[in-house]
């Protein structure tokens, strides 16, 4: 018995040893990789008619690499529209370029995946492109009483005594800036808070332009610093976020659903009014320039920047990066968030339907706010954004009638690049004459 076990053990050991010895030789045979570079023939990935790409393939394998490179075009919602492929035959250390033209698509944004499948390598490159985006318009109208609804909401806010309080926070002072905790009463009597940072100056004539920094979803904004001696920054935490959770303090996924069945109770109604109240606060401060206010934000902050600048014309510059909730009815067919959470909420509320929610959300659709913007507006979008898809942001942008500029980030998702921040700073300084 013992002999048999010993023999088996030896056999297994020898087999494993043989594998170990053989493996380096096999690995040596297949060592290498395939590098791919996808180049759109427009730097922004936005085309006037035909989308064209070059797909470069380089093999470092010493062995031939054969297979296909294929593209597939879908709508933002995932419906397949176009596909094509080309045979790949690469010799050892070979390279080749493949040109693809995607034509005949109507105005819009599309997802495109390039897939390579060769002897020793598989990969997919995911991109998106636009065709004549300037022609895109929403097919969903703005409610006829949209402006009236917001006028009434502002009137309701005006009836709330703001009870502004400002508390200096000397321990937080840095970058030659004074820091203040700002508290105020907003719609429904809720207390909201923000942080005001002001450059220290001995110039008694000095007045600061104001950056109203608006938060992303469930982001806790802290005091914002920087060495700029011309700008005061008011970072606001809307109700239910950051240090403004006295009354509304819910889980992250719940926030966007709060009161969504009733436009008069929806959490974003109060949140937008919180931003208007922050502008009220700016107007109480003599050291701040009341005609040089920029509302800035990304994602939900981008939404708030557009909405606040639309309902409050005291804002003179709007900068919205990746604004969410644009063209809501289209959005609902394309993205998971926030509609997964909203549908869950609807399912737990008898008498509430998703259609009713959409009717309500029409009053919170950022593209409906955009058409009322009167100030200069900068918009940023990522073509791969799956929260604020480019087609929805483009519709928002196209609806703006005031002076505007759009910066497209071809290879980014729900974010913007440095180019946006640089342009925003330059345009703002020019607008506010901060030469």
């Amino acid at each position: 018995m013992m002999v048999k076990f010993t023999n088996k053990f030896m056999a297994v050991t020898l087999f494993l040893a043989a594998l170990v010895c053989i493996k380096p030789a096999a690995a040596q045979e297949s060592e290498g990789t395939v590098n791919t570079v996808l180049t759109p023939h427009d730097k922004d990935g936005v085309f006037s008619s035909t989308a064209s790409y070059t797909f470069d393939v380089t093999s470092t394998y010493s062995t031939p690499q054969n297979g296909r490179v294929k593209y597939e075009v879908t709508t933002e919602a995932g419906k397949k529209l176009r596909s094509d492929s080309a045979a790949v035959k690469l010799g050892g250390h070979g390279s080749a370029s493949y040109n693809f033209d995607v034509s005949g698509l109507p105005s819009g944004f599309y997802k495109i995946n390039f897939m390579i499948n060769v002897t020793d390598y598989d990969d997919t490159t995911r991109r998106a492109f636009g065709i004549k985006p300037d022609e895109m318009r929403s097919t969903h109208a703005k409610p006829s009483d949209f402006e009236k609804f917001w006028d009434n909401t502002k009137a309701e806010l005006a009836a709330v005594d703001p009870e502004f309080t400002v508390t200096e926070m000397p321990d937080s002072s840095k970058d030659n800036r004074n820091v203040y905790l700002v508290e105020m009463k907003s719609l429904g009597g809720l207390t909201i808070r923000g942080w005001l940072t002001e450059p220290k100056t001995t110039n008694k004539h000095k007045k600061f332009a104001v950056m109203l920094a608006l938060p992303g979803y469930q982001v806790n904004l802290q005091p914002l610093y920087g060495i700029d001696p011309d700008i005061a920054i008011l970072s606001l935490n809307i109700r239910g976020q950051g240090n403004s959770k006295d009354v509304i303090n819910v889980r992250k996924e719940t926030y966007i659903t709060l009161g969504v069945e009733d436009k008069n109770k929806y959490v974003l109604r109060g949140a937008i009014m919180d931003c208007v109240r922050a502008v009220d606060f700016i107007f109480t401060r003599d050291e701040l320039r009341h005609d040089n206010i920029i509302a800035v934000g990304g994602s939900l902050g981008g939404f708030l920047a557009v909405a606040t600048s639309s309902v409050d014309k005291r804002i003179s510059f709007c900068s919205a990066a990746n604004p969410i909730l644009a063209d809501v009815r289209t959005l609902a067919t394309q993205v998971d968030w926030p509609f997964i959470d909203i549908r869950k909420y609807v399912n737990t509320r008898p008498g509430v339907t998703f259609d009713k929610v959409l009717n309500n959300l029409d009053y919170f659709d950022s593209k409906n706010f955009a058409s009322d913007l009167k100030c200069r507006t900068l918009v940023g979008m990522g073509l791969l954004d799956n929260i604020a898809p480019p087609n929805t942001v483009q519709v928002l942008y196209n609806g703006i009638t005031s002076e505007k500029h759009l910066i497209v980030f071809r290879d980014l998702a729900h974010e913007i690049g440095k180019k946006y921040v640089i342009y925003e700073g330059r345009w703002m300084r020019d607008t506010f004459a901060l030469f």
């Binding site: 004539h205 007045k207 011309d230 004459a433």
Partner: protein
């Protein structure tokens, strides 16, 4: 949080000391002026020449080992009226001195030509490149003293182009300006005045900057006479190369040192100059 102060900080040094002769004038660029901002720049300049280019551009020493020197004290000011308009003014005071081997030293001094102007911010390209146009009136603050200038009123229209950039991680700027000036008296010359500057910030805080400037005047008149005092010649031209160093002490104050030399010319002295300007700015809004 960066809000892009680059152009603003660089603007502090866009004043180009343009030492043509006995006065220090300012050939500022295309950048707009912030509304409510007052900039005051007293400066002192020294100009020296002991040789000349004749009407054919041939270089020769001044007759009788002559030496011309001039000290100019200039007060320059600009104020941003609105986003588009800025007022500019400069008042020069000069002290001229000419010595020769055999003749007594000749001196003259007094206020020279007052320049008052209005600058208009025309346009920009991507908020990086700026264009402005400036109209300037020239008013002599003297009479019957031909050693201080033409004694004629004049007007100038100038187009300026400025921009910012980066070079090897350092901030850069440039100014280019060209102005046509007409004096209205007898044989009052018509002049093309131009300058181009490239500047480089030596540190990220914009405390120290260096610059190189090419500037010149091409002046035409029926009066072809020559004087060792360049500002009194009417038909002449020169090209000057200058380098400068600026240091910023604070947001409000800086100092600018510049030195230059005429590199080519016609019917003018071969000038060498140095100047020092103190720049103070204050925001009134």
């Amino acid at each position: 949080m960066s809000l892009l102060k680059t152009s603003t900080r660089i603007l502090f040094f866009t004043l180009i000391l343009f030492v043509a002769a006995h006065s220090v004038s300012y050939a500022d660029g295309g950048f707009p002026v912030r509304p409510g901002r007052l900039l005051i720049a007293p400066s002192v300049g020294y100009f020296f020449a002991n040789s000349q280019w004749d009407t054919d551009g041939k270089k020769q020493a001044f007759a009788d080992n002559g030496k011309f020197s001039s000290v100019g004290v200039t007060l320059y000011a600009e104020y941003g009226i609105s986003r588009k308009f800025a007022a500019v003014a400069s008042v020069p005071m000069v002290f001229n001195r000419y010595t020769t081997a055999s003749s007594p030293t000749v001196t003259s001094s007094g206020l020279a030509d007052l320049e008052t102007g209005l600058r208009y911010y025309l346009a920009n390209i991507d908020f990086i490149y700026y264009f402005s146009i400036q109209g300037t009136a020239i008013t002599p603050l003297y009479s019957k003293n031909p050693s201080l200038g033409y004694g004629e009123e004049g007007a100038e229209l100038k187009l300026a182009f400025s921009g910012t950039g980066h070079l090897g991680g350092l901030a850069t700027y440039f100014n280019a300006a060209d102005g046509v000036r007409q004096y209205f008296g007898t044989n009052g010359p018509i002049q093309n005045r131009y300058n181009a500057t490239f500047g480089l910030s030596l540190d990220s805080d914009y405390e120290n900057q260096i610059s190189a400037t090419l500037s010149g005047i091409y002046s035409q008149s029926n009066d072809k006479s020559f004087s060792v005092i360049p500002e009194t010649n009417k038909d002449f031209s020169f090209l000057q190369a200058s380098i400068g160093f600026g240091h910023s002490f604070s947001h409000e104050t800086s100092l600018f040192l510049s030195g230059g030399r005429f590199v080519t010319g016609r019917n003018t002295g071969v000038g060498t100059s140095v100047s020092l300007a103190f720049i103070y700015r204050l925001d009134y809004r």
